[in-house]
Amino acid sequence: MAVIEAEHLSKRFGRKVLAVDDVTFAIRAGAVTGFLGPNGAGKTTTLRMILDLVKPTAGSVRILGARYRHLARPATRVGALLDASGFHPGRTGRNALRVVAAGAGLPYARVEDALAMVELEGAAGRAVKGYSSGMKQRLALACALLGDPEVLLLDEPANGLDPEGIRWLRTFLRARAAEGRTILVSSHVLAEVEQTVDDVLIISKGRLLAQGPIGELARTAQPVVRARSPQAEKLEALLAARGAAVNRLDTALAIRGPASAEVGEVAHANGVVLHELFTEVPSLEDLFLEIAGTRREL
């Protein structure tokens, strides 16, 4: 069952900026979906359209079967981290959350629970203006968790976090996913979400380039065979003659086309010494670059 369904979603700001261009996707329940793309790709605008903060120019989007504004007590169904700086600097962290909790009709006890979840109880009595960017990010995350929602939309949650914070966030997301929540997490730093996501949506320049389980997408990516040889030039010529795409830097070769076994056999048959030979599993970043570079759309 799809938790979020977008159909032909587009958003144009003024005449010149087409932020999101005819995007259609579905987010399945219980999965952690990475919403990936470079800065300015249209991720935030899409998330804000899901949450009824930005009005689509065309198309429609439903979350839990309805428009966000039509959900009963939406904060108890959907939690969103959109803007970690979206708190009044003079308000304490606790009061910032209480304001949101009150508006959403939630008891203040939930504020304390959410603060504990993001490990911010100790600083909750301080004004937000004294928070580091990592603390503001945790506060925004606590805000998303106030209603104990079944769906979480997180826009660049790792922004401002130090390496320890990013590790904490990864563990945190895994724990929430293990509880069966649906999580849509956007990021432009692919390595941050690579170990966390089940599915991915890849967007660039407002266009959706790919969507699906990360394993399936990885299988479609062409693996790269890496070889190192003192006779790299000779091996490059042999492989190129067999139709392989080969890039050489000094003694190192990156080969697309043949499998590593075939490369090894060619080298052996022609007396080429190999110091290293392995197949590189494409990372999410490789996958993104390949899709962004070769496919125009799904």
Binding site: L51, P74, G86
Partner: protein, 249 residues
């Protein structure tokens, strides 16, 4: 609605804006009254008519209303406000109600503070303090009501324009400079301009009766009140409509 009211009251209580408002209101109310009570010849001291800073309080609550709305955009809190309550019309209506009440309460506090100065200061000048009579109480009631309306006007302007500095500066320049010039040079037009209309509602009964400020600019008090309500209603409805369709980016 109750939860929204709770949220708006908490917003008011949890920053220093309200504290600043309170201090400013008391200052502009108490200081002129103290000066009047201390230095005005005793024959000119009216034991119950003490509202020297009421006009200034009206401008303070106007700015208070503008800040109440524009702060949401300035600090980006509008995102969380609309996520918690996506029905934006309700958010705007509750804000208008809460800030309107806040503005009226601020004026009430200012008037009470001025009375307190009278209670303490007048006997020291040898003038007996008198409880405000019916006319003075009616003046005060109008000032309280208009303060509430003006605060709503500020909230609606803030929702409409969003940019804090532009809205505060533009509104004050309009109210304190442009409108008085129009009233002076084109009184037929100026009579109908908003801040002049608000002023006609609150113009002192005593001063009007004596031929001073008040209704001499054209509108009878009931008319002025009606036009004030129309102004507030039009700007508030426009603010609600604009807020409902505006992108929060």
């Amino acid at each position: 609605m109750i939860s929204l009211l709770r949220a708006e009251f908490l917003k008011l209580r949890s920053t220093r804006t309200s504290l600043g408002l309170g201090i400013a209101v008391l200052l502009v109310s108490v200081v002129p009254t103290v000066l009047l009570v201390a230095f005005l010849p005793t024959r000119m001291l009216n034991g119950g008519e003490l509202a020297a800073g009421a006009t200034l309080v009206t401008y303070i609550v106007l700015v208070f209303g503008i800040l109440g709305m524009t702060n949401e955009y300035r600090h980006g809190t509008i995102t969380y406000t609309y996520l918690a309550t996506p029905r934006r019309a309700r958010v705007m209506i509750v804000k208008l109600v809460v800030y309107g009440a806040g503005g009226a309460l601020a004026m009430l506090a200012a008037l009470l503070a001025a009375q307190l100065v009278g209670v303490i200061g007048l006997p020291a000048r040898g003038v007996s303090y008198q409880m405000p009579d019916g006319g003075a109480l009616a003046d005060y009631a109008r000032q309280i009501g208009v303060a509430g309306l003006v605060t709503c006007f500020g909230v609606a302007l803030g929702a409409f324009l969003r940019a804090q500095v532009v809205t505060v500066a533009g509104t004050l320049i309009w109210a304190l400079l442009v409108e008085p010039l129009i009233v002076a040079f084109k009184p037929g037009v100026g009579t109908w301009l908003p801040f002049n209309v608000f002023g006609q509602v609150t113009a002192s009964t005593i001063m009007s009766d004596a031929g001073g400020v008040g209704t001499q600019n054209g509108l009878a008090r009931p008319e002025a009140f009606l036009v004030s309500v129309v102004y507030i209603a039009v700007v508030s409805v426009a603010a609600v409509v604009v807020s409902m369709s505006r992108d929060v980016t």
